[in-house]
């Protein structure tokens, strides 16, 4: 409503607003307010924004802005229409320039200004929604100030500045169904616009966009979408915004328009991390993600690893035919797999992928052999997980028991398994044995040695659950070892110490000197 003079902090702006609102004759004072918006001084700008908010808020409520297709200012001024119409058109033009300026202020260096600008814009949005500035074309026509909102979203995903704080503010508005729906539309537009303008947008833009996009969360169940920011007297069933299906469609369009671009690697990881959980379930047609996921799968390393999850959901739930899936998975197994951050996730997935008992024996054997090979370079915490993993594979597939039990077979000169072969079918793993596990029985850590010794006996039928072992860290292993009750008393070294480096023939004494 109309601002109270008492709440005005800046006297001049206050007076100007009062003057404009009280008499139309003083309308030219608007220019002074708008000029203050351009000021360098942060305080002044803030006051101006507040003044604008009050001024145009009041004008919008009073309906003193021109409604309909806005004619250009000159033609109206030159024309001979009524003074009222001229005033309204003129004021509407001032309002437009104010909104433009506020949109620019979203990129202001000071966060308070940004926040204030966003708040003001959203207030205008609400008021404009209830007092639309365009004529409804038919009865019950759904009107939303799309142009204004598009400007807001464009400001939010600006390629110039990191807006993560502002976006977290904006997240509050995304609770409203209509805002969310229109944000999805506006975001895809904004992304398209920016990428059209510059073929290689900055990482800041991608981060902003991703923050905005990932903040979107659709309701899982179809229910009454009636939580609207712009209040309507009654909601019509014909409006697209009231249907979850439309929301999903918009959601899908937004993500597809985002993902079709070449993303930076870090963003790839972020997207893939949330893919299975917050993107795929909300898409109207999840299969459209196939291209993205397969291309991610081909990137290699951690990204392929993460892409597997989404891919598996598509294969599992949406009947995707993906012939080279296991080959890809096999290709992903390299020494670094035990050291990457996503180790737990990867092995959880691998366990899931290999849980089917209908997999061919050669494939499972190849996986077992490959993992055993890699285990030769793994740290103890990973070994404690991967050894039961291999044993579980053997348990699931009795045909692979030959890997640990091959009676009546002559000694071999070399291992028939070919570690370089990319195709598990040709790796000849089934002709080999898990000598690696036998070697690991000599591992220095007692638990690892014990886990590897399982293959000496006939494997038990029940599988060992690896879920609690997935997240095992070296620190936990260390703590466990420390807490374990040892024999009483502690065994001691009986060869007396002679010095820091030990005896002459000790390794340390051979290669290091104290001086």
């Amino acid at each position: 409503g109309a601002g109270h003079p008492a709440s005005c902090s800046g006297d001049s702006a206050c007076r100007l607003v009062q003057a404009v609102l009280s008499s139309r004759g003083e309308a030219n004072a608007v220019f002074d307010v708008l000029a203050a918006l351009q000021s360098e001084d942060q305080e002044e700008v803030q006051e101006a924004v507040r003044a604008c908010s009050r001024l145009f808020g009041a004008l919008l409520e009073r309906g003193e802005l021109y409604v309909g297709q806005l004619p250009s200012e000159d033609t109206v001024m030159a024309g001979s229409q009524g003074a009222m119409r001229k005033y309204k058109v003129w004021m509407r033009h001032r309002y437009c320039s104010c909104c433009n300026r506020l949109g620019e202020l979203l990129a202001h260096p000071a966060f308070q200004v940004k926040e204030l600008a966003l708040g003001t814009l959203m207030k205008f949005l609400q008021l404009e929604g209830t007092h639309p500035l365009e004529q409804p074309k038919w009865e019950g026509h759904y009107l939303f100030p799309r142009t204004l909102f598009r400007a807001v979203v464009r400001g939010l995903v600006s390629p110039a500045e990191d807006h993560s704080l502002l976006l977290s503010q904006f997240r509050e508005y995304l609770e409203f169904d209509d805002i969310r729906y229109h944000t999805m539309q506006a975001a895809s537009d904004a992304v398209a616009q920016v990428t059209n303008q510059q073929p290689e947008p900055s990482i800041i833009f991608w981060n902003n966009a991703f923050t905005l996009l990932s903040a979107m969360s659709l309701p899982r169940q179809e229910h009454d979408l009636s939580n609207f920011y712009v209040k309507h007297a009654e909601l019509s069933d014909k409006w697209k915004v009231t249907h979850l299906r439309e929301h999903r469609r918009a959601f899908q369009a937004m993500w597809l328009s985002f993902l079709k671009h070449k993303l930076p690697l870090s963003l790839y990881k972020k997207v893939l991390l949330v893919m299975h959980d917050s993107i795929l379930p909300h898409l109207a047609q999840p299969t459209l993600m196939i291209d993205f996921l397969t291309s991610a799968c081909d990137v290699g390393g951690a990204i392929s690893l993460l892409a597997l999850n989404g891919l598996f959901i598509l294969i599992h739930k949406h009947n995707l035919e993906y012939p080279d899936f296991y080959r890809k998975l096999y290709g992903l197994l390299d020494p670094s797999v035990f050291h990457v951050k996503y180790r737990a996730r990867f092995f959880h997935l691998a366990d899931l992928f290999l849980s089917s008992s209908h997999l061919p024996a050669y494939l499972v054997a190849a996986f077992a052999k490959r993992l055993a090979r890699l285990a030769l370079t793994a740290p103890p915490e990973a070994l404690l997980m991967v050894l039961p993993f291999i044993c579980n594979l053997l348990r699931r597939h009795p045909a692979c028991h030959v890997l640990v039990h091959r009676p009546q077979c002559p000694e071999m000169d070399s291992d028939p398994y070919d570690p370089e072969e990319e195709d598990p079918a040709k790796s000849r793993a089934l002709e080999s044995c898990l000598w690696e596990l036998q070697s690991l029985q000599q591992h220095y850590h007692p638990e690892v040695s014990r886990a590897a010794s399982v293959i000496n006996q006939v494997l038990s039928v029940t599988e060992v659950s690896i879920a609690p072992l997935l997240e095992l860290s070296a620190y936990e292993v260390f703590e466990q070892d420390l807490k374990r009750k040892g024999p009483e008393p502690v065994p001691l070294e009986f060869i007396p110490a002679q010095g820091l480096l030990g005896r002459r023939d000790d390794l340390c004494a051979q290669f290091f000197t104290l001086s």
Binding site: D334, P335, L376, P379, M412, A474, P491, C508, Q510, L514
Partner: protein, 860 residues
């Protein structure tokens, strides 16, 4: 007792006829009363209990029982007052009469005691024998004896005389009266003589009695006096005893000397008895045993079995590093407290000598002597200085240490050494209570002095010297460890001191394995925690300081690294693994540290030949960063090494002239500690040295893991790298040779792949469809299902039988009662009839009389 016997007799009395009757019935059953239940069939295995019965006897017994119980009850049914016998155990047949009497007596005494002598604290209860106070008996023992003896003697003598003079008193009198008339003239008649005798004896007796009474009086007086004093003394007696005890272990110097000399004389030959060979043999035997123990632990087969440490075999071990030896003079040492201490030191020393290896026996002996000196305070050595130093108070050490080392203060006559003493170290040191104390004691001293201080702290606080010393020395271990850590973090690190302190640590650890292991665990946890935190916050760790590496090294020296599982070594291994996997190599310093860690790792597994993937990975990484980057080999690299990017050519050597001047040598540990800014040539030399060490370690690995079944799979990534190194001829000649020999070593490890075989497990038995076997039950037993079911049936059956029995009993009771009532009624009726008859009789007589009278009247 008399009472008890009486009561027993009373008990016996009614029992006797009862037993007699029972015995008679058993022995001679009336054949007419015996009822034989005829068996129709003879069945094997059936126990018959009711084949013969005595119905008459049984009925009589039942009736008797009923008359005693039921009838009594019946008769008393309307009476409210009951007679109860409250004597203890009167109705309890479980207690034997003797016991019963005892308990009754005890109760009585108790009651008596409670009531009367509540406030009588001093006096004990009076013990009696045949109703007489024991105290009285004791008191008058000899007197009574003499008295009775006297009296007996007196009577006897009288009798004797009487007998001599012709029989008893009566006879005597008769004879006397007979002889009276005949022998009156005689001057001294027999009677006179006798009377004289009697008078004499009576007089004697009187005198004796008087004397006795006097004595009695005196003794009584004495007793009273004594009692008075006793009350005073009674409190102090235990104390005086204690004092005696305390004083006891304080024999005078001469005694000590004599004993000492005696023991030494005895001890020496027994020590010398063993020849060098014998000693060597013993030592060898001991080492062999220890080695066997170590092997057993290494294999970890009986891991869960309770292990016995050979160092501490005794259950009475005080855990003070004392080992039982074949030294029998110890038995003597326990006679004397003081000597005990001295002997303990002896034992301790010999034990220590036993612990330590044969190869440094000389040194040990020296130290033994030194220690012995320190302990005994030989006059010509430190002890006098010690007292001087103490008197000077120049060290500011608390004089408490004095008290802790008895036998230290001896004569101080050497005046000229006093001066030297002022500059020298004090000889007694209190054990440090905090790390700061230790630090202040050690800081600013030379290496030798520091060692001496630590040594003396240990000696002054030997656990055998005082009670709290064990804890103090246990703490000392932790402080020393901390001190070593500080020394290692110094710039430059004080490695020489650490080198010597390690020996002290080893000795302390041998004494207190528990606390030592806890301290080591603590520092390891600290280091790991720090690293974990860094990984959490920064995403990666950096190589820790030299102190952590040295702690790890020390852990490996104090504890057996070859054990399958060890409470300290296993965590230390995990810690080493973390260092090699989590810390990226960013500088030459890191390379040195990493190589040291590899070295440690390989040393830890040197005996057990266990496989360490981390070392292989790290060595591979080191070799990789010494080559120019190529895409092909990066794939096999493992974290923390990267195929490309910064530090991926860290060890690459380019300057040819520096290469030429390089000489192979050991890596100094100080390179690992502080940031140094070497010249380009030095850096190149360092790189080449690192590479050489890396290759040497790799060679070691190859030799050690050559027998592993998948050796070639493990070593495969190295081949390409080694050949690449070989093709580049920029390396110095020595290094080239090393490369070649390593590669040759790898090639020479031929291996046959033996297919894996599971151990044969018990064959799973085939499923056989045999019929279910049910136990064939005997006749008469209740058949049916499970054990519980059978038990249930048995109980039901028992209940039924008991129920029936109870019903029968009740029925019989009722019959008995009815019979009794009937007989009562009959009796009453008979009485009434009798009375009625009587009445009728009297009436009839009256009537008759009256009629007779009437008739008379009529007649008249």
């Amino acid at each position: 007792m008399g009472k008890a016997r009486l009561a027993a007799a009373r008990r016996q009395a009614p029992r006797a006829p009862l037993g007699g009757r029972g015995g008679a019935a058993k022995a001679n059953p009336n054949p007419f009363e015996v009822k034989i239940n005829r068996q129709k069939f003879q069945i094997l295995g059936r126990k018959t209990r009711h084949d013969v019965g005595l119905p008459g006897v049984a009925r009589a017994r039942a009736i008797r029982k009923r008359t005693q119980t039921l009838l009594k009850e019946y008769k008393e049914r309307d009476k409210s007052n009951i007679f109860t016998d409250k004597r203890f155990g009167e109705y309890n047949s479980n207690i034997s009469p003797e016991e019963k009497m005892m308990k009754r007596f005890a109760l009585e005494q108790q009651r008596h005691h409670e009531k009367k002598s509540i406030y009588n604290l001093n006096e004990d209860e009076e013990l009696t024998h045949y109703g007489q106070s024991l105290a009285d008996i004791e008191k008058h023992n000899d007197i009574v004896d003499s008295d009775s003896d006297d009296e007996e003697r007196g009577t006897l003598s009288a009798e004797l005389t009487a007998a001599h003079f012709g029989g008893g008193v009566g006879l005597l009198h008769k004879k006397i009266s007979q002889q009276e008339g005949k022998e009156e003239a005689k001057p001294k008649s027999r009677k006179e003589l006798i009377e004289e005798l009697i008078v004499k004896s009576k007089q004697e007796k009187r005198e004796r009695q008087a004397k006795r009474e006097d004595a009695l009086e005196l003794t009584e007086k004495l007793d009273q006096d004594w009692k008075e004093i006793q009350t005073l003394l009674s409190h102090k007696t235990p104390k005086s005893e204690k004092q005696e005890k305390k004083e006891k272990p304080k024999p005078d110097a001469y005694d000590i000397m004599v004993r000492e000399l005696g023991f030494e004389m005895k001890a020496q030959p027994s020590n010398r008895m063993k020849t060098e060979e014998e000693l060597a043999k013993e030592e060898q035997e001991r080492l062999r045993k220890l080695e066997a123990e170590r092997l057993r632990r290494m294999l970890g087969k009986e891991e869960d079995e309770s292990m016995k440490n050979p160092n501490h075999t005794s259950a009475d071990d005080l855990n003070d590093g004392f080992v039982l030896d074949k030294d029998d003079r110890r038995l003597l040492s326990y006679k004397d407290g003081k000597m005990n201490v001295e002997e303990d030191v002896h034992k301790e020393l010999s034990g220590k000598a036993g612990i330590q290896g044969s190869d440094e026996e000389e040194g040990e002996e020296e130290s033994d002597e030194e220690e012995a000196e320190g302990e005994r305070g030989d006059p010509d050595s430190h002890s006098d200085l010690d007292s001087n130093a103490e008197s000077e108070e120049e060290s500011g050490k608390p004089p408490r240490a004095q008290g802790q080392t008895p036998g230290k203060r001896l004569r101080s006559d050497d005046q000229n050494t006093q001066k030297a003493a002022r500059t020298e170290l004090p000889y007694t040191f209190a054990a440090p209570e905090s790390y700061e104390e230790l630090r202040s004691a050690l800081s600013g001293r030379s290496m030798e002095e520091q060692l001496l201080v630590v040594e003396r702290i240990q000696k002054c606080n030997h656990p055998s010297l005082a009670v709290g010393n064990k804890e103090k020395l246990e703490k000392l271990f932790g402080f020393l460890l901390e001190y070593i850590g500080d020394l290692a973090t110094n710039d430059p690190p004080d490695l020489k001191v650490i080198d010597k302190l390690v020996v002290q640590l080893y000795n302390l650890c041998q004494m207190f394995p528990e606390s030592a292991s806890n301290s080591i665990k603590f520092v390891l946890r600290d280091a790991m925690h720090e690293m974990e935190e860094m990984i959490e916050t920064k995403g990666r760790a950096v190589f820790p300081g030299l102190d952590v590496l040295i702690y790890l090294k020390i852990a490996g020296m104090l504890f057996p690294t070859s054990d399958f599982r060890h409470p300290v070594v296993t965590p230390a291994l995990v810690c080493l693994s973390q260092l090699l996997t989590k810390c990226p190599v960013l500088s030459l310093q890191d390379v040195v540290k990493g190589l040291f860690v590899c070295c440690l790792f390989l040393e830890f597994v040197a005996l057990s030949h266990r496989f360490v993937p981390e070392v292989i990975n790290f060595l591979l990484g080191i070799l990789y960063i010494a080559t120019p980057n190529t895409q092909s080999q990066g794939s096999t690299l493992v974290h923390p090494f990267r195929a490309l990017g910064k530090n991926s050519e860290l060890l690459l050597v380019s300057e040819a002239e520096d290469v030429a001047t390089w000489q192979r040598g050991s890596l100094p540990l100080r390179w690992a500690s502080g940031p140094s800014s070497p010249t380009a040539a030095e850096a190149t030399h360092a790189r080449l040295s690192c590479l050489a060490v890396c290759l040497a370690l790799l060679k070691h690995c190859v030799l050690m893991y050559g027998t592993l079944p998948s050796f070639h799979a493990i070593i495969r990534p190295f081949r390409a790298l080694l050949t690449e190194h070989l093709t580049r001829c920029s390396h110095p000649h020595e290094l080239q040779e090393l490369f070649q020999s390593t590669l040759a070593e790898v090639e020479s490890q031929k291996q046959l792949y033996r297919p894996l075989l599971c151990e044969k497990s018990k064959p799973v038995p085939l499923k056989l469809f045999t019929p279910r076997l049910v136990k064939v039950l005997e006749f008469g037993r209740k058949q049916g299902g499970s054990k519980e079911e059978q038990e249930r049936k048995r109980l039901i059956h028992k209940h039924k039988r008991e129920f029936k029995g109870a019903v029968r009993e009740i029925r019989k009771d009722n019959q008995f009662l009815a019979r009794m009532q009937l007989s009562e009624i009959m009796e009453r009726d008979a009485e009434r009839k009798r009375r009625v008859k009587q009445l009728f009789n009297s009436l009839a007589t009256q009537e008759g009389e009256w009629k007779a009278l009437k008739r008379k009247k009529f007649k008249k």
